[in-house]
Amino acid sequence: MSGLAQLNDWVAVSANWLGIISLAVSTYAAVTISRIRRDIVGRVTLPAIISALEDGNGQLSAMLKDFDASHRSFEVTLSVCEANLRTIVSSRSQATPRAKSLIGDIAAFRKGRLSSGAQATALDIDRAWAIYGSLSGLVEELKRITHLHQVGG
């Protein structure tokens, strides 16, 4: 009888240890997948995203020359940039906090535009130029990250 009880205890302890090992393996797998995903974004998609963001940002600055005449195109280009920013956020790279902050700035700009109506206010223009400046900074940071990836092999 005591032998059976001992066996029961042994099975219970083994099950606990197996559970802990399984959790450790799952955690390791999740961390590895996350790292590989970040690596793929860094090596493969990041150069394309940088190029798209740089082009988009250049277009935004050109449209800001006459915002009232090109506000619709501006919104479209801004949406394209925002989509690329979301890819950066999902990559969980070093640039993620800056990309998140920029998405917040874009949301604030859109909210301001809704309340200001058809005619852009000076605040709208200031916010748009701030987005341009922040996007430039982000592109610069992404270039540095890509360079580090390349140097790191």
């Binding site: 600055s61 130029w129 430039s136 592109v139």
Partner: protein, 110 residues
């Protein structure tokens, strides 16, 4: 990104804004590119040709915009290159120096 590079990016972005708002009077420069005046200082932006790294072909060049801050006698006091936004500044300077705005207005008004 280090603080100095960050300041350079902000500086170039601000110049792009000033240029797009017509607050920099750009003109052609005899050595190429465009020269303008901002806050009493002359700046020049032009495309510089540099050897293309990793192209695998000898003599392959790539164009990269360079911004120069000129000192009183036309000499270069400081130059900024490889900073995001310089291409936008070059495009804006070309647009303004060529008087594209006025030209388009004239054509549209005719």
């Amino acid at each position: 990104m280090d603080d100095y590079l960050g300041r350079q990016v902000e500086f170039v972005a601000k110049l792009v804004r000033l240029s797009q708002e017509g607050r920099i009077d750009w003109r052609l420069h005899e050595k190429g590119g465009f020269v303008g005046e901002v806050f009493g200082r002359e700046i020049r932006i032009f495309d510089s040709e540099k050897p293309a790294p990793g192209s695998g072909k000898v003599g392959t060049v790539r164009k990269a915009p360079v911004l120069e801050i000129l000192v009183g006698d036309g000499k270069v006091g400081h130059s900024i290159e490889s900073v995001t936004g310089l291409r936008d500044l070059l495009a804006s300077a070309g647009f303004r120096a060529a008087g594209i705005d006025n030209f388009m207005e004239q054509v549209l008004a005719s």
